[in-house]
Symmetry: C2
Subunit: 122 residues, 2 copies
Amino acid sequence: MRVTKQRNLILDIVNNSKDHLSAEEIHKESLKSIKNISLGTVYRNLNNLVNENLIKKIKFEEFDRYDQINIKHNHMFCTKCHKIIDIFEDIKISLKNKFGKINDYEINFKGICNDCLEKEKE
Amino acid sequence: MRVTKQRNLILDIVNNSKDHLSAEEIHKESLKSIKNISLGTVYRNLNNLVNENLIKKIKFEEFDRYDQINIKHNHMFCTKCHKIIDIFEDIKISLKNKFGKINDYEINFKGICNDCLEKEKE
DNA sequence: ACTATTATTAGTAATCATTACTAATAAGGA
DNA sequence: TCCTTATTAGTAATGATTACTAATAATAGT
């Protein structure tokens, strides 16, 4: 595995974004630094970074989105505006592990975010 | 919204399956009863049934899968054989609901199922 | 039950996120 | 610095899903 400027850039973009960017958005952003970086390169590197556990893929609705691996956290998907919100609250779950070897879990919430609730009041 | 034999058949197939079928698999199964049911009809009805909360869509890897709405439960995805396993154990989570109006949540586990663990031993 | 309305269907074409392919490029070890 | 080969840019292909259209069938009103 080689270190390339494309790979570093993509990792940087994901790690420095507060949103949960799609591959398309990451490509658009990376074009600002490397004017001819290709969409295929973005997809390939995103997959590599996910496999190496450097970033995380989020599958809610629509297309996939990518998130940094900092503090373990979960997400809420707003069914109105399709925004994904970080939930950093510590949620403890206990489970008798009889299903196999569980390596990871994530809790996905769905609902209506505060912004949309405000708009509904108007 | 009208009751059609196509719609009923699709709902029946999802509700009577122990697996988590894909749209393609549901189409193949429904062809046994309605010899010329189209794939588009299957997709359209699946979406309708999800919107009416009669079935549930599961988004792990690959394509989407569909599951019945019986007892509230969660899923584990085996990263080896790509099987989806039901987890009916009651998992309590507590969360200060300050993110909006949460309507639903699901806990998605990833790991290696017992079948695959057995095979690894050999 | 008959008819009119219109939602739903079968069949097919289009879309669009993602992956595959290929020749050119560049990372990094010798 | 050179050589090997992983990675890239650019583009074509794939494949799940959605859109479109004329034909069909469900249901409300008579």
